[in-house]
Amino acid sequence: MDSVICIVDVLPELLGTYGDYGNVIVLAKRLQLRGFKVRIIQATADKSIPQTGDVYVLGGGEDSPQSEAAKILRNSKSLNIAYDNGSFVFGVCAGFQILGNSFVADNKVEEGIGLADFYSVRGSRRSVGELVINSDIFGPNYLLSGFENHGGVTVLGQDVEPLGRVLIGKGNGYNESGNSSYKTDNSTDPMQLSFNKYSRSIDDKFSSKMTKKTPIQFRDGILSKRLLCTYMHGPVLARNYKLADFILNQIVPIEDEVDALGRLNTYSERLRTERLKSTL
C-alpha cells in the first residue's frame, strides 16, 4: 500500500457552500483508517486543476460562483481529461449540475462540461428539506438520507441512470419515464419545463413506497461507472458511510469491515437512522 490515493477538492472556494468539505474529510479518513496514504489537493481557481487525481469531489455553490466554476472547468478541460483517463468524479448539487450539458444560474443558461448527457433547468420553487432515496447499489435495506436545498430540475438523457428513486423530497425533480409532475407548457423546448407542485404525500410510509411503484417517482442524481452525483448536499458521505465506501471501492479495492472504522460507522449509522425516522 505504498501508493498514494489523491483526492481532488475541485474549486472549494466556489463549490463549497454547504459543508461540502465534509465529503473530502470522510473519503480521506476512511482510506487512512484502512492503511492507505492519502493526498488531498485543494484545487482552487488560482492553481491549475490536476489531471491525475483518483477521485474528484465537487460541492454546492451559489449561482455566480457556480457559473465561474463552470467557466474555469470548461476552459481548463482538466476534469474532462481526468475523467476520460479513468478518474472517479463525485458531484453534489451545483457541482452535479456543472457536469451536465447545461444548467441555469442567475437566469442564464450556462454550458456545463458534459461528462454525461443530462441538463438542469430552474424549478418554479426551491426544494429545501430532507431527501431520502432508494438506490439499486444498496437495495431497499439501506436508504440514502440527505438534505437538499436547490432550485434546479435535472433531466437525464436516455442512456444515463439515476443514482436512485426519491422516497422523500424532490431530488432531480423529474422522472424520465414520462410520469412526471411537470408541465411542459406545450413546448418541446426542455428549457421551458416548469416545476409543478410536488405531489407526493408525506404520510406514505417508506415500506409502502418500496413495495408499491408510485406513478410519479422522481429520480435523484446519476450513477455511471466513474460518475456519481446527487442533490443530497453537503456532507452526504458522513451520513451514509456505505455510499462513501462504494465510491472508494470504485477507486481501489477496500476491505469492508475494519475495526478502526467502528466508531465512525456507529455514529454515521445512528445519524442516518435518526434522520430517516424524522421524515416518517
Binding site: E13, L14, G16, T17, Y18, G19, D20, Y21, G22, I25, V26, K29, T44, A45, D46, E62, D63, S64, P65, S67, E68, V128, G129, F147, N149, H233, G234, P235, A238, R239, R263, L264, Y267, S268, R270, L271, E274
Partner: protein, 434 residues
C-alpha cells in the same frame, strides 16, 4: 408623543393591553406579538415613533447583539435615555415594540436582522448604520449571502445621508458600502473569508494577502474592486484592543475589556466609532462606559455547577464564522468544552455547516457533545479524531461520575467552556445545573 398619528396612538394602546395580559397570564413579555399588533393597527408606527430621535442601526451576521449593547452602554453612560432591543428581537415587530416601550428615549440603538436592514433603514431614517460582517448562516431558510450583499448595497444607495461604519476587512461588506459617500472604514482582521473568496463585483478569485488575524489586504485582479482604505485600524486581542488612525496615530492603546475574545475587541471598536459619529467624540471617555461589561444577554456569563466546583462559561456561536472565533478563543488552554447543536427553525434546519467549522483545532480537549442534533455533531467530531462523550441529558451529565472524574483530572482546570448554537444556547441559559 403628540406628533404620533391617531393610528399609532391606538396601536400603542393595544400593545399596552397585550403586554399587561401577557404578564398577567405569565406568557412572557409579549414583545413580538405586541409589536405585530401595533404594526397591524398602524403600519407606519416605526416611522412615526422614531421621528425626531437619533437612530443607530447595527447589522451583520455575527456580533450584532454585543455591538448594540456596547453602543447602548456608551450612549446611556453619557446620560441619554436609550431605546434598544437588548434581547435580540431584531425584525420589524421586535424593534417597534422596543421603541414603543421607551417612547421617552432620545436615542435608539437597534440591532437589525440582515434581511430586514433595507426595510428598517427606510422606516427609521438612521443617522448611523454599522455593518459588521456577512457570512453564510441558515442557508435552508435565508438568502445566500451574495444576494443579501446586493440588497444591502441597494439599501445604502437609497440612504445617502446616513453615516456608515463598515468592516473594511470583509469583502462583502466592502462591496456594499464602497460607493457610499459617507463610510468610515474599520480594519481589524477577519478569520472567515470563505464566503468572499471570489470578487463580489465580478466573480474572479480575489487576491488575499497577509491574513494573519489582524489586518488583511485583498483586491481583484480583474476589476477595480479592492479593500477600501481604512479610516481606523484596530488591533484586537483576547481581553484588550487598540485603535489607531490610518496614519498610525494611536487613539486608544491596549484598553482592557471584560468581554473575552479578540472579536469582542473589534466589536468594541465598532461601538466606539459609531458613538463618535453620534457626537460622542472623546473615545477615551466613551470607552470607560464599556470596559466593565462582562456579559451580554447571557453570553459569556459563568454558570456555577455545585458538583464540579468550577463554572461553565456560556458562549453562543450560530454559524461557521462565529464558531471559528469561539474555537480560537478556547484553543490555547486545556479547559474542557461542551458543544451543543440544535437544528430548530431559528438555527436553520440543516447542520451541514458543521463541516465548515474547523473543530480539529481543539481536538486534544476533553469534549462533551450535546443538543438535539447531537448525532450530527458526534459524527463530525468522530471524523475530527476527538475523544468525546455524548450527553443525551444535561442534568444526568453533571451527575455522571465518569464526567466528574474526567473533569477533575484535567490539569490547570479553570472552567468548562460551553459553545452552543442559537436555540441550544437559549435552552441551556434557562437551566439550573446542580
Amino acid at each position: 408623543m403628540s406628533t404620533l398619528s391617531f393610528k399609532t396612538k391606538v396601536g400603542l394602546r393595544v400593545l399596552q393591553i397585550v403586554r399587561s395580559l401577557s404578564r398577567m397570564l405569565k406568557l412572557g413579555s409579549g414583545s413580538v406579538i405586541g409589536g405585530r399588533l401595533l404594526l397591524l393597527v398602524s403600519k407606519n408606527a416605526l416611522n412615526d415613533m422614531s421621528k425626531g430621535k437619533s437612530v443607530v442601526l447595527v447589522s451583520g451576521t455575527n456580533g450584532k447583539t454585543t455591538t448594540t449593547a456596547l453602543i447602548s452602554g456608551i450612549i446611556t453612560g453619557y446620560g441619554n435615555k436609550v431605546a434598544t432591543n437588548a434581547l435580540g428581537a431584531n425584525m420589524e415587530a421586535g424593534i417597534a415594540n422596543s421603541l414603543a416601550i421607551s417612547l421617552d428615549s432620545s436615542v435608539c440603538v437597534f440591532e437589525v436582522d440582515e434581511h430586514w436592514l433595507e426595510e428598517i433603514m427606510g422606516k427609521t431614517a438612521p443617522q448611523v448604520v454599522v455593518l459588521l460582517n456577512l457570512s453564510r448562516d441558515q442557508l435552508d431558510r435565508t438568502t445566500e449571502v451574495r444576494v443579501l450583499a446586493q440588497r444591502w448595497k441597494k439599501a445604502l444607495s437609497e440612504n445617502l445621508s446616513v453615516k456608515v461604519v463598515a468592516n473594511a476587512d470583509d469583502p462583502l461588506v466592502a462591496f456594499c458600502a464602497s460607493d457610499h459617500p459617507s463610510t468610515t472604514w474599520i480594519s481589524g482582521g477577519n478569520r472567515w473569508l470563505t464566503d468572499a473568496i471570489s470578487c463580489p463585483n465580478c466573480g474572479t478569485n480575489l487576491k488575499i494577502e497577509s491574513n494573519n488575524g489582524t489586518g488583511i489586504k485583498y483586491y481583484c485582479s480583474n476589476c477595480n474592486f479592492a479593500k477600501p482604505n481604512p479610516t481606523f485600524n484596530v488591533l484586537a486581542k483576547d481581553g484588550s484592543f487598540s485603535v489607531a488612525m490610518a496614519d498610525g496615530d494611536d487613539l486608544l492603546k491596549d484598553i482592557k475589556i471584560s468581554l473575552p475574545g479578540s472579536f469582542n475587541g473589534l466589536n468594541s471598536a465598532f461601538a466606539l466609532i459609531a458613538s463618535k459619529l453620534m457626537g460622542n467624540e472623546d473615545l477615551s471617555q466613551s470607552v470607560e462606559h464599556i470596559t466593565n461589561i462582562k456579559e451580554i444577554a447571557g453570553r459569556y456569563s459563568l454558570k456555577n455547577v455545585a458538583s464540579l466546583g468550577v463554572g461553565i462559561r456560556m458562549m453562543l456561536a450560530k454559524n461557521p464564522a462565529g464558531w471559528v472565533e469561539a474555537l480560537n478563543l478556547i484553543s490555547s488552554d486545556s479547559n474542557p468544552v461542551i458543544f451543543a447543536i440544535n437544528a430548530e427553525i431559528p438555527d436553520g434546519k440543516d447542520p451541514s455547516w458543521l463541516y465548515d467549522v474547523p473543530f480539529e483545532i481543539v481536538n486534544s480537549k476533553y469534549v462533551v457533545a450535546a443538543g438535539k442534533r447531537v448525532l450530527d455533531l458526534a459524527t463530525r467530531l468522530a471524523y475530527a479524531d476527538f475523544i468525546f462523550e455524548v450527553a443525551d441529558d444535561y442534568h444526568n451529565l453533571f451527575k455522571s461520575t465518569n464526567f466528574i472524574e474526567q473533569i477533575k483530572a484535567i490539569q490547570g482546570l479553570e472552567r468548562i467552556d460551553l459553545i452552543a448554537n442559537y436555540s441550544a444556547f437559549q435552552d441551556l441559559l434557562k437551566m439550573e445545573f446542580v
